[in-house]
């Protein structure tokens, strides 16, 4: 579904991604973990070209990701993205947030788009918030609305860029529950997160990144029980002691 080959990325002099090779199969859930500044968010953003790649190749469903223009917009329509800061459109109701892209990009009628939107809002458990503005919702509700908005495009892949990092602790669970359900339904997912519990529970594969490189890649049990590199062992020792 996603194939990344020899991806390199620089921010000025700073080499943020080094020779990344990654393959995500249809229906697979890949969780990317690692210390801050390790390049995991940048990798996630490169997958739908919110960041341009320095060199290397990204194939989505066998097709090279277009560089710009309408082809790129079409690619992004098939790749859902959920942000750390939710990024709901502040001037539109939750329902309109979910309906906008299906109407403008997919050409759905208002009635069709509204039906899909209401179904999805019910699925993420916030059906009764449909008429509210994003600012009136809690963080957890906003993030679930953002997931519904991405799902409304019927994407082939969902990217999650630290979806729970901006949430109060008691709201993390409600968002992770939606994501676990999505994974169980067979969605192909790339999830950048610090939630080790989610990685154990829902991941098919854990990718550990440090300093712009993929250091280790393994099934969650193998990775958490017996990491093979010192860097991964150090990282886990720090995050799992609490």
């Amino acid at each position: 579904m996603i194939r990344v080959q020899g991806l390199n990325k620089w921010f000025g002099e700073h080499h943020v991604l080094r020779d990344i090779d990654l393959h995500v199969a249809q229906g697979e859930v890949v969780v990317v973990i690692g210390p801050s500044g390790s390049g995991k968010s940048t990798l996630c953003r490169c997958l739908n070209r919110l960041e341009s790649a320095g060199s290397g190749e990204i194939l989505i469903d066998g097709v090279p990701a277009p560089v710009e223009g309408r082809e790129l917009a079409r690619l992004r329509a098939d790749v859902g993205m959920v942000f750390q800061a939710f990024n709901l459109f502040q001037h539109k109701t939750v329902l309109d947030n979910v309906m906008l892209a299906p109407m403008k990009v997919r050409g759905l009628s208002r009635a069709e788009a509204e039906k899909t939107a209401r179904d999805l809002l019910a699925r993420v458990g916030i059906a009764e918030q449909a008429g509210k503005m994003p600012g009136q919702l809690s963080g957890g509700q906003q993030q679930r609305a953002a997931i519904a908005r991405a799902l409304a495009m019927r994407p082939k892949v969902m990217l999650f860029d630290e979806p729970t990092s901006a949430l109060d602790p008691e709201m993390v669970g409600e968002v992770l529950d939606v994501m676990v359900q999505l994974a169980a339904d067979g969605m192909t997912m790339v999830v950048v997160t610090h939630e080790m519990g989610f990685a154990r529970r829902a991941a098919d594969r854990v990718v550990f990144m440090d300093d712009g490189q993929i250091v280790e890649m393994a099934e969650p049990n193998a990775f958490f029980e017996s990491p093979t590199t010192d860097r991964a062992r150090n990282f886990l020792a720090k995050v799992l002691t609490h």
């Binding site: 309408r70 800061a85 459109f89 403008k104 600012g135």
Partner: protein
């Protein structure tokens, strides 16, 4: 006072021309401003360059110079139009540069995540600007655009210098007959003040009604 009251029809005619100049050139300036602001935030460098050149040129020349150049210069190259039409177009193009800058600051005030989320959903650059970024940008620049509207209203009086008989020119003509500048120009000034006050009321209302819950 009688100087004012005896010439009400002339004042009225002048006020109507001022209102026509204001309304038509503000409409033109709004369209122009939208286009130029879109150019200035475009990802294409050439388009950004065109937008910047436009703003720098029109903001850095006095309106009076532009009016005189247009009225006397355009017929030289075969473009003939009525004085009021020429003045309307020149004021629209000039104020368009200011509206573009106000809009651009509004666009910059919208968090970059909004545009990213729109693009991540597959909206094209134009669609994300139109449906997501500009509606939010507009809400933050209602007040500055109201101020530009007021400045534009006052600037229409420069059209008097190129022969358009709007409120200021009408007042001047009445003064040539009556030689009572104080009541005549205070009267004209009050008319401008009323237009400006109305604009202030409207922008205040719009701001309250369109406020975004954050």
């Amino acid at each position: 006072m009688s100087a004012l009251l005896d010439h009400l029809p002339e004042f009225w005619q002048g006020l109507i021309v001022t209102l026509q100049l204001t309304a038509a050139s503000f409409a033109g300036a709004a369209v122009m401003g939208l286009v130029i602001a879109a150019l200035r935030v475009s990802p294409v460098p050439v388009l950004r360059g065109i937008g910047t050149a436009y703003v720098e040129t029109l903001q850095n020349l006095p309106l009076l110079v532009l009016l005189v150049l247009a009225v006397f210069g355009l017929p030289e190259i075969g473009l003939q139009a009525g004085l009021q039409v020429t003045a309307t177009v020149v004021i629209a193009l000039y104020e368009g540069a200011y509206i573009a800058e106000a809009l651009r600051s509004g666009v910059n005030a919208v968090s970059s995540g909004q545009g990213e989320a729109a693009r991540a959903l597959g909206l094209t650059f134009g669609q994300s600007l139109r449906h997501v970024v500009l509606p939010q940008a507009l809400r933050t620049v209602i007040q500055p655009i109201g101020n530009i509207f007021i400045a534009l209203t006052m600037n229409t009086s420069l059209a008097a210098a190129v022969g358009v008989v709007e409120l200021t020119a009408a007042a001047n003509r009445v003064n040539l007959l009556e030689a009572q500048p104080i009541p005549i120009f205070v009267g004209a000034g009050l008319a401008y003040a009323v237009i400006a006050a109305c604009a202030g009321l409207v922008t205040g209302r719009l701001e309250r009604r369109l406020a975004v819950v954050r």
